[in-house]
Amino acid sequence: MTLTYGLITGILFGFLLQKARVLRYDKQLGALRLIDMTILKFMLSAIVVGMVGIQFFHDLGMITKLDIKTTQVGANVLGGLIFGIGWALLGYCPGTQAGALGEGRWDAIWGICGSLLGGAAYAEAYPFMKKTVLTWGDFGKITLPQVLNLNPWLVIPVFAVGVLLLFRWFEQKQL
C-alpha cells in the first residue's frame, strides 16, 4: 500500500507542477536570474499551506511523527552551495527533472543519468563526509520555533505575512 500511496502522491505532485508550468528550464533559470518568480510563488504557496496544515493536525494528534532533518551546518551550507551550482547548470532539480521528462523535455534524461552517477559517487564519498563535513556544526533536529523558544503559532503567521508581502512585491514588479 505504501508503494501505491507513493505513486498517487507523485502523480498529483507531477500534475500540479506541470499545471503551474514550473517544470521548465526557462522557469527555473528565470528564478535564478531573478526575472521570473513563478517557481517561488509556487513553492512558497505550498509551504505556507503545508505549514499551517502540518501544525494543525500535529496539534490535533493526527500527525504524530514529524520528519525534521538534522541540522548539520557544514553539510547544509556546503551541500547547498554544491547543489546550487549543479541546479544552475542543469536547470531542473531532482524532482522537477522527472516532471520535465513527463512533459517531453528530454534533455532531462541527461540530468537523470548524471544524477544517478552523482548519487553513486556520494554513496562512495559518504564515509569521508561522515568523518568530516557531517560533523561540522551538528545541532540535531532543531526548528525555528525551538531556537526562538516561541510557540509555532506565533512563528507561522509572521512567516505567512512575510510571504504575502513578498508576493505583493513580485506582482508590483511583475516578476
Binding site: G10, V49, L81, L101, E103, R105, W110, L116, Y122
Partner: protein, 171 residues
C-alpha cells in the same frame, strides 16, 4: 496569434500542492522528497554488477537500494506531468530549452553534456545537504526546520551566483 497556454496560477497550484503534502503525511506518514531515490536507484543498478560491493557500502546500509515509497513518488511525477501535459496540449518534445538555445545555441549535444554534469553535481550536493528543493525546500521549511531554511538559502545562493556568470551580459 499563437499564445502559449499559461496553465494555472502558480499560487493556486502551489496551495494545492501544500494540501497534497499534508494529505501524504496524514495518510501515509510520508513527507515529500526526491533526491534519495537517485542514490538508491544507483545502488539498485550497481547491485546488478557488483552485489558484494553494494553490501559493503555504508551509505546503502542506511538507505536501502530497493523500490520504496519515494521511488514510486518520483515515477508518479513523470506520469502526473505527462497526464497534465497531454490533456492540456502542452506536451512538447524538446531537447534544448528556448532560453538555453538563445544563449548557447540549439545543439542538444552541448546542452546534454552540461545537463549531465549539472545533474551529477546537483545530486551530490543534495545528498550532502541532506535534501533537495522537495525534501528541504518544501518538507523542511514547512516544518520550519533549521536545516531546511539554511539549505534553501544556499541552494539559491549557489544557483544565483553560477547563473549570473552563465548569463552575464546576455539575453
Amino acid at each position: 496569434m499563437h499564445s502559449e497556454d499559461k496553465g494555472w496560477s502558480p499560487y493556486l497550484a502551489g496551495a494545492l500542492t501544500g494540501v497534497v503534502a499534508v494529505g501524504s503525511v496524514l495518510v501515509a506518514d510520508k513527507f515529500l522528497g526526491a533526491s534519495t531515490t537517485f542514490a538508491t536507484s544507483a545502488g539498485m543498478i550497481e547491485k546488478l554488477f557488483a552485489p558484494g560491493h553494494v553490501e559493503a557500502v555504508d551509505y546503502f546500509k542506511k538507505h536501502i537500494p530497493k523500490i520504496d515509497w519515494q521511488f514510486m513518488f518520483v515515477l508518479g511525477i513523470v506520469a502526473g506531468s505527462f497526464l497534465s501535459a497531454i490533456t492540456s496540449k502542452s506536451f512538447k518534445l524538446q531537447g534544448t530549452p528556448d532560453m538555453w538555445a538563445r544563449r548557447f545555441g540549439a545543439d542538444p549535444g552541448k546542452r546534454g553534456m552540461v545537463a549531465f554534469v549539472g545533474g551529477f553535481i546537483a545530486l551530490f550536493g543534495a545528498r550532502l545537504a541532506g535534501g533537495c528543493p522537495s525534501g528541504h525546500g518544501l518538507s523542511g521549511v514547512m516544518q520550519l526546520s533549521i536545516s531546511g531554511l539554511i539549505s534553501v538559502a544556499f541552494f539559491l545562493a549557489g544557483g544565483i551566483a553560477v547563473t549570473s556568470l552563465l548569463y552575464k551580459g546576455g539575453e
